[in-house]
């Protein structure tokens, strides 16, 4: 079990800055993120896009902002659980929490800071009747183990890189690969498009375009996929169906934690960004309150106030005042480091 003072869910800019603010107060942080790398949207969606409204940075690339925030927080040695989604929460008798991920990793902390942004990135699911029946029964949104498809008949839907890459890979594994895309054009790396073209000519991939998947067949598991092209529908025999339509953010399991939700976001008290559950805070794009603006700089402010509140919650009797880093450096709190170095002052006579 991982134990920490503040468990941060979401390693985007707001979550990463929380590490720094908590560190100033000698609180340890651990972050969970569904993506395999820290940075949230900034590193996943637009690392090369410039941001112009980070105070003090006339222009900074989202990827560079992530790198800077990691650097700023590094001195406080945060822990990371990456590539795992926070799934369930349990409140213990002493008011602390255990958060378990989809892979079963457990985290224990007295304070939870949800900095989940738009939510965790989940596969986009096609709107097909009874689709949930087939999930894990021949239908998969991710390919975890390609060997599952050995000598099977596979239908892949989608027109992006992942649809192309997996069609190429499975052409050597599966007995039959059919790639269905709504348009004639595929949008992927040039190499991949050309390779798919070659495999098509070799009859190793069957391509149906412009066409759409319009139905799923089979009792309890995928046995066939209905493909509609030019108004005609044919059923293709299949053991597996893999829709690859990219990822979209969803609030996900956090939505079931008993938190007050409004406009697909978590309602908080603007005094300290605490939710309706004491000890659980929500900061950054994931929260909502009157006047809320989804800006990184607002997330930083929220993280700062939230850490002060968390400190008071953890140390109810203690008196403290805000310390400036210009006065005390970054280790000044609790008197563990004296004042920052001063220039020599000489008497002038």
């Amino acid at each position: 079990m991982i134990t920490t003072d503040i468990l941060i869910i979401g390693a985007g800019p707001t979550g990463l800055f929380t590490v720094f603010e908590a560190g100033l107060l000698k609180l340890k942080c651990h972050l969970i993120d569904a993506l395999p790398q820290p940075g949230g949207q900034c590193s996943e969606l637009y690392p090369k896009k410039p941001i112009y409204d980070i105070p003090g940075f006339p222009e900074i690339l989202a990827g560079d902002l992530t790198a800077n925030l990691l650097e700023q927080g590094k001195q406080f040695q945060p822990g990371f659980t990456l590539g795992e989604r926070a799934e369930t929460i349990e409140t213990l008798e002493d008011g602390s929490f255990i958060v378990t991920t989809n892979k079963g990793t457990q985290h224990h902390a007295p304070i939870i800071a949800i900095a989940g942004g738009l939510g965790s990135f989940e596969p986009r699911k096609p709107q097909l009747e009874n689709i949930t029946i087939y999930e894990d029964n021949g239908l998969a949104y991710f390919i975890k183990d390609p060997e599952v498809y050995r000598d099977k008949k596979v239908v892949i839907a989608g027109g992006g890189d992942s649809a192309l890459d997996w069609s190429i890979f499975l052409a050597d594994v599966a007995s039959e690969v059919t790639l269905v895309h709504r348009r004639n054009e595929f949008r992927g790396a040039l190499d991949s498009v050309e390779r798919v073209q070659e495999l098509k000519l070799l009859n190793k991939i069957n391509i149906i375009t412009p066409a759409e998947i319009t139905g799923l067949h089979g009792e309890h598991k995928i046995e066939g996929v209905a493909v509609t092209k030019d108004g005609d529908t044919q059923i293709i025999e299949a053991d597996a169906f893999i829709p690859l339509f990219g990822l979209s953010p969803k609030l996900g399991p956090i939505g079931d934690w008993g938190l007050e939700i409004e406009k697909n976001a978590i309602k908080v008290d603007t005094v300290d960004y605490q939710t309706n559950i004491p000890g659980i805070y929500a900061i950054g794009d994931v929260n909502t309150y009157e006047g809320k603006l989804k800006l990184i700089l607002c997330g930083f402010h929220e993280a700062t106030l939230m850490c002060q509140s968390a400190y008071k919650r953890l140390n109810p009797g203690k008196k403290f005042v805000l310390k400036y880093t210009t006065v005390s450096g970054i280790n000044g709190f609790d008197g563990t480091r004296k004042e920052s170095p001063k220039a020599v002052v000489k008497a002038i006579v």
Partner: protein, 109 residues
């Protein structure tokens, strides 16, 4: 001209006629949000970068709009409920040429 008139059918089929300013560097998605014609969190999720399809709309009038950039084209080739007249409203800047435009919001997906 300062404002253009746009006719928008929301996801429940209700028709709205709204005025959109041409001098505020807004896009159509932002106008739809400013009039709250779709609930927050269901439209413009990515902020207007053509990285989700939550602002997809169908253009029902014959207006000649700005041509699609690669990013919009790529997103629409992956999105659901796409028709020939689909556009991402975040990629349509509000300008004089939109006066009288008729659009319909695509279903939430």
């Amino acid at each position: 001209m300062q404002d253009v008139t746009i006719h928008i059918t929301d996801r429940y089929g209700e028709k709205h006629t709204i005025l959109a300013p041409t001098d505020m560097a807004m896009n159509l998605m932002e106008v739809i949000r400013s009039y709250e014609l779709a609930p927050e969190g269901t439209i413009g999720i990515c902020g207007g970068m053509a990285m989700c399809a939550s602002c997809q709309c169908y253009v029902n009038s014959a207006h000649k709009l700005n041509t699609m950039e690669d990013e919009e084209e790529a997103m629409l080739s992956e999105a659901f409920n796409v028709k020939d007249n689909s556009r991402l409203s975040c990629q349509i800047p509000i300008s004089d040429i939109l006066n009288g435009l008729e659009i319909e919001l695509a279903p939430e997906s």
